[in-house]
């Protein structure tokens, strides 16, 4: 098995913040690899490191057989990207956008025209080819940016949360375009997401990352093995700082607040709950009810990857301590 991406102890610190902490990753060539984690987990930082847009603080990474520190230029030559923002020039038309990137990739005139037409037809934007991108919906822009990523037939694709901000039909459409193009062209895909279902639907392998650390790696079915149980806590006085502390215990792999204001803790396999309750009580939380339940697959991962996990808003509003 050859590896498209291989990292060893890859780390990156921004003064004070450790965005990525000793990442060991192996992405098999030809796979669609999901890099799953909540906001701020370090997904974008990882992609930037792999593209040579950021220097690693320590550790190593090899992409397509090339070292990210010394050969990033060669890496960028062979990869396609759809980053955080779509990267399209709004003042230019769909065709002008693709044409620019095709020229950058040094495709000949004939190749450019044929490839641009084929891709625009594939994503149903051929009729809108001469409209400025500024007039496009977000879904159309993402599709166009996806086409741009495939333009020069890269052997590896980096997609940073490609469906974030899309409504469900647009996200479904984009995913199916992605899967069919990836299979057709036989590229390796490295895709970040905070959406478990997305990872399950499109990925052969998944790695879960939180706070810069790798939590689990494997086929999606294997990942969902962990965290089958959850602890539902009805209590008052839960503060964000406490949630953060709970998250840092080995027993807890995810936290969330449900619609009734209960704190939901996704538990690691075989985790004891007593230390968690004790921690809560010690910090002044009044626990009125705590019960262990089977977590649905979705709940487990919602807790694990939910956007608000570290963001305070839901916990704060639920605890009633910090009204806004």
């Amino acid at each position: 098995m050859t590896l498209a991406v291989h990292t060893e102890g890859l780390s990156r610190r921004f003064d004070g913040v450790t965005a990525l902490d000793g990442l060991n990753l192996a992405v098999p060539t030809g796979s669609i690899f999901g890099f799953l984690g909540p906001n701020g987990a370090g997904k974008t930082t990882t992609i930037r490191l792999l593209l040579g847009l950021l220097e690693p603080s320590s550790g190593n990474a090899v992409v397509l057989g090339r070292d990210v520190r010394r050969e990033s230029q060669a890496i960028r030559e062979q990869v396609g990207v759809l980053l955080d923002s779509d990267g399209l020039y709004e003042r230019l038309t769909a065709r002008q956008n693709l044409d620019f990137f095709a020229r950058v990739a040094r495709l000949s005139k004939g190749e450019r025209d044929a490839r641009i037409r084929a891709l625009l037809e594939e994503i149903d934007l051929w009729d809108r080819r001469d409209d400025p991108v500024a007039d496009f919906s977000r879904g159309m822009k993402q599709k166009l940016a996806l086409a741009r990523a495939f333009l020069h037939r890269p052997s590896l694709l980096f997609l940073d949360e490609p469906t974030a901000g899309l409504d469900t039909p647009a996200a479904v459409g984009l995913r199916s375009e992605l899967v069919s193009l990836a299979r057709e062209e036989g590229v390796t895909v490295f895709l970040t997401t905070h959406n478990l279902l997305e990872a399950e639907r499109v990925c052969d392998r998944v790695a879960v990352i939180r706070q810069g650390k790798l939590l689990a790696e494997g086929p999606p079915e294997a990942i969902r093995g962990g965290g089958k149980r959850k602890l539902e806590v009805t209590a008052t006085g839960i503060r964000p700082a406490l949630v953060a502390r709970l998250m840092n215990t080995p027993e807890v792999i995810g936290a969330d607040v449900d619609s009734e204001g209960r704190l939901i803790l996704a538990l690691a396999d075989g985790a004891e709950t007593a230390p968690l309750i004790r921690l809560m009580v010690e910090t002044g939380v009044e626990v009125s009810e705590a019960r262990i339940a089977e977590a649905s697959l979705e709940e487990t991962f919602l807790a694990l990857v939910d956007e608000d996990l570290n963001g305070r808003s839901r916990v704060e509003s639920a605890s009633g301590e910090h009204p806004r």
């Binding site: 847009l53 950021l54 230029q73 960028r76 030559e77 990267g87 002008q96």
Partner: protein, 260 residues
């Protein structure tokens, strides 16, 4: 080199606004109207002598380059295109010089349009028959006035030299600005420094010289053909440009652009 041209081509398309940039063209027309038609017609004498158009050929590019160079990196950052551009195979230098080439080429072309417009204005809008300058070998009475050679030199290379000056300074500003607005505001400072420095600083420097040196210098200038004077001035500008561009190209590194 090919990469530089590809980047410059994209930039020019954005500047001239294929698709959505009608507002941009209004600015160009306004410039041409004011500098190319209004001014020559209100100050015919000064324009015919060639002094004013030569000075404008050096100054107008500053105003043309300013806003676009401010936009060059800050705009890509604000509109979320910078990182994707940096993730391409393009070498750092091609991106940097491509952007500079685009704004300077654009300023050069618009300045030419202004000069051509002023010629039309002078020839058809003012009575210039039998005036100085160097008339072309038109046949007989309907001679078409064109500027003396030094005006064309000032446009041909001088507009590029001054455009490069502001463009190279401007990329520093643009690279450091988080927003386009901020970049535009920050650009006012180098613009004023360059303009005030050119129009007051150099004369002041001259006056600070000992009188004997001043005299010798004046004599020297007067003994030289106007074209040589322009060429010397432009040459000096180019030296400054080269230093600034070298510095800019050295500082422009993609891994620095993302981390802050």
């Amino acid at each position: 080199m090919r990469d530089i041209i590809v980047v410059a081509g994209k930039e020019l398309r954005e500047i001239v606004g294929a698709g959505g940039g009608r507002k941009g063209l209004v600015r160009e027309l306004l410039f041409i109207g004011i500098f190319g038609l209004l001014f020559p017609l209100t100050q015919v004498e000064a324009w015919l002598s060639g002094g004013v158009p030569a000075a404008f050929a050096l100054m107008v590019p500053l105003f043309l380059v300013g806003p676009h160079v401010a936009d060059s990196f800050a705009g890509e950052r604000e509109r979320g295109t910078l990182e994707t551009l940096l993730a391409t195979r393009l070498p750092d230098r091609s991106i940097y010089f491509g952007k500079i080439l685009a704004v300077c080429g654009y300023a050069w072309a618009v300045t030419l349009l202004i000069i051509l417009a002023s010629l039309l204005a002078l020839n058809f809008g003012a009575d210039v028959s039998g005036r100085g300058g160097s008339p072309t070998a038109g046949s007989g009475e309907s001679e078409f006035f064109v500027y003396p050679a030094f005006v064309w030199v000032a446009w041909g290379v001088g507009s590029i030299a001054s455009g490069l000056l502001l463009a190279s300074i401007g990329t520093f500003v643009s690279l450091r600005s988080k927003t386009v607005r901020g970049a535009h505001q920050a650009m006012m400072i180098p613009l004023f420094v360059v303009i005030l420095g050119g129009s007051f600083g150099i004369p002041a420097l001259f006056r600070s010289l000992p009188p004997s040196t001043q005299e010798r210098f004046t004599e020297l200038l007067e003994s030289m053909p106007a074209v040589s004077v322009v060429l010397w001035a432009v040459g000096g500008l180019f030296v400054i440009d080269l230093v600034l561009l070298g510095l800019g190209a050295r500082l422009f590194r993609r891994d620095r652009l993302i981390s802050d």
